[in-house]
């Protein structure tokens, strides 16, 4: 197994390991030098891969059984005593089953609990809709004090897990099931929570995306450059909240066409966060939100679902072409106002 060395930490090969495995190993590594880190799960230590931490630091690890509400409350108590709990379960249970504990026990008291939620979006498609989670951005964004992060792949998950320790309050990091292809080849890149990453420059069009969509958008941009002669900017908006307003307004001014892509309902997530910034900027922009169109997902393996819902490169190319055909509308009544 190849070991990738970052600036001051060690992660593992993004090509052969799932995001959650990289998370578990990163956490175990960080815990070597930070004795405040504690780990928690609700009977999902293998599934969320926090096991890598648990095996190394059993005295700092608490498995509470299948009781997510209790887990979030306990995490709040641990944080009150000065510890930094990393709490892992599936996104659906972290944000909804224990939603009020997250809001009231953790966020209201602004405690440094780090929620690393796995199996988000439709990444666990074949588990059925009870285990999908396309509402978590909306829920977590609406909670004051909460930082919301969606890494593009395993390597970025490692960066996020490391960076979130420095955030004094609660952080929600949403990752998938972990079998998604990697986006980054190396962890040696500038990563700052709240600061978007321009993955590819472009002047005709901007795709603002997060999670699994980043790699697909890069592939789509390549196709659009080769076949359509389009210059497409791809922005990895890994932090949904606080959103990088500057990067969005710059994209409006530079390209005037923006598509957001997220593995989430189009209501309340990345698209709405970006749309708000565009609307508040007062600048003209052709804007569309690509995501789950307020529906629960079909059942299937993730890659089939991604293709079905157009989250793959082909689907994204189609969306961009459609938007390139749109014109800014003349608004004749404007002068009368």
């Amino acid at each position: 197994m190849a070991v990738i060395t970052g600036t001051n930490w060690t992660a593992y090969d993004g090509a052969t390991m799932t995001a959650r495995e990289i998370y578990g190993r990163t956490l175990a590594h960080l815990a070597e030098t930070n004795d405040k880190i504690v780990g928690m799960t609700a009977d999902l230590e293998k599934t969320t891969a926090i096991k890598f931490f648990a095996d190394k630091y059993p005295e700092r690890f608490y498995n509470v059984g299948i009781a997510e509400q209790n887990m979030m409350g306990i995490a709040a108590g641990l944080a009150k005593a000065g510890l930094i709990p990393f709490v892992s379960t599936m996104a659906i249970f972290a944000t909804m089953r224990a939603g009020e504990q997250v809001r009231t026990d953790i966020a209201y008291q602004n405690l440094p609990v780090k929620i690393i939620a796995t199996h988000a979006g439709i990444s666990f498609g074949h588990a059925g809709t009870t285990h999908h989670c396309t509402e978590d951005f909306a829920i977590m964004r609406a909670i004051p004090n909460m930082t919301v992060i969606c890494p593009a792949d395993g390597i970025e998950t490692s960066r996020a897990v490391q960076a979130c320790i420095d955030i004094p309050g609660p952080v929600y990091v949403r990752i998938g099931r972990g079998f998604e292809p990697p986006c980054y080849e190396s962890p040696d890149y500038e990563y700052e929570i709240g600061k978007a990453i321009t993955m590819r420059e472009g002047t005709d069009f901007t795709i603002i995306c997060c999670g699994i969509a980043v790699l697909q958008a890069m592939n789509a941009a390549k196709t659009l450059a080769e076949n359509d002669g389009l210059s497409v900017r791809v922005i990895n908006m890994h932090t949904i909240k606080p959103i990088d307003r500057e990067a969005i307004v710059k994209a409006v001014m530079d390209t005037r066409r923006i598509l957001t892509i997220e593995e989430h309902n189009i209501y309340g997530g990345l698209g709405d966060a970006v749309g708000s910034v565009i609307a508040e900027s007062g600048k003209g922009c052709i804007f569309r939100k690509h995501g789950m169109q307020d529906i629960f997902s079909e059942i299937g393996y993730a890659e089939d679902l991604y293709a079905y819902y157009g989250f793959d490169a082909n689907g994204i190319v189609d969306k961009v072409r459609e938007m390139m055909g749109l014109e800014f509308e003349e608004d004749e009544s404007w002068e009368d106002e």
Partner: protein
């Protein structure tokens, strides 16, 4: 060791004053959860004036004992107790519920000095107490965490998740107290959602249960003394109390779960409290 006659007089006086302040708060705030605040006066008195290792001059001391009012709606009893213990002037209680006051119907740990946990949504406190208990164990500290719950609150499933985990993790440093005043908003606990056999439920979850008269200073003192000695089994003090204790027309009255009252009624209540026990 039982309380001496002098100690008992001292704590009874504190309890009496706390009850009168609760009535004041009901007037100042425009309404309060008076019934469930009056029922826990002896518990708060013995905790804050004898058993909890705390220092109002050093409220964030890492080695202090922690207290979580899981039945957060009894803030009208809890916050005046903090004031009487010296965390902030009692005069400030007059702002209760008003614009930008630190004090509301439910306590906020970010706004109230000496308040260890925000609470009010029922069923949350015991999990936080378990977290604090685990932390103390992990950090090799010997401070205790006391969590005061309501009996109606124990309808919440999360209480039992927490109860199960406290026993599983062998948290002798967590002390649960249930204010068994036998009422909830819509009636008696046994009418709305039966809790009995209540002590057996806690026992079967692995807790040591001390079934006591929660309005008796001696009994509360004795139970807390015993709970403080626990090593690896969590203790549950089942404090049988009277809702609205100390004011005849409020005792065991559903309408005094949450109530407002004019100054005449408040004066009458305070007069009764003043004469009480004489």
């Amino acid at each position: 060791m039982a309380l001496t006659a002098e100690e008992k007089r001292k704590y009874a006086q504190i309890a009496k004053e706390l009850r009168m302040t609760i009535i004041d708060v009901m007037l100042w705030s425009g309404g309060a959860h008076v019934g469930g605040s009056l029922s826990i006066v002896e518990i708060l008195t013995m905790l804050y004036f004898k058993h909890l290792n705390i220092d109002p001059k050093d409220p964030d001391n890492e080695d202090r004992d922690r207290f979580i009012l899981s039945k957060g709606h009894a803030a009208a009893g809890y916050i005046p107790a903090l004031a009487k213990r010296g965390y902030f002037p009692e005069e400030e209680l007059k702002s209760f519920n008003h614009f930008r006051s630190p004090f509301a119907m439910h306590p906020d740990s970010k706004k109230i000095i000496g308040c260890d946990a925000s609470a009010g949504s029922l069923g949350h406190g015991l999990s936080m107490a378990v977290g604090l208990g685990l932390a103390a164990k992990q950090l090799k500290k010997d401070w205790k965490t006391v969590c005061l719950m309501g009996d109606g609150e124990c309808c919440e499933g999360s209480i039992w998740e927490a109860a199960m985990s406290a026993a599983h993790f062998k948290l002798g440093n967590v002390i649960g107290i249930v204010d068994r005043n036998k009422f909830m908003i819509d009636g008696t606990t046994e009418q709305v959602m039966a809790l009995e056999p209540f002590a057996d439920k806690w026992r079967s979850f692995g807790w040591k249960v001390l079934d006591i008269d929660g309005n008796d200073l001696d009994a509360v003192d004795e139970a807390l003394t015993e709970a403080w000695k626990a090593t690896d089994v969590p203790t549950l003090i089942l404090a049988n109390t009277i809702k609205g204790k100390g004011v005849s027309f409020m005792e065991n009255k559903v309408m005094y779960h949450y109530a407002s009252a004019d100054s005449a009624i408040c004066e009458q209540a305070k007069e009764e409290i003043m004469k009480g026990g004489e």
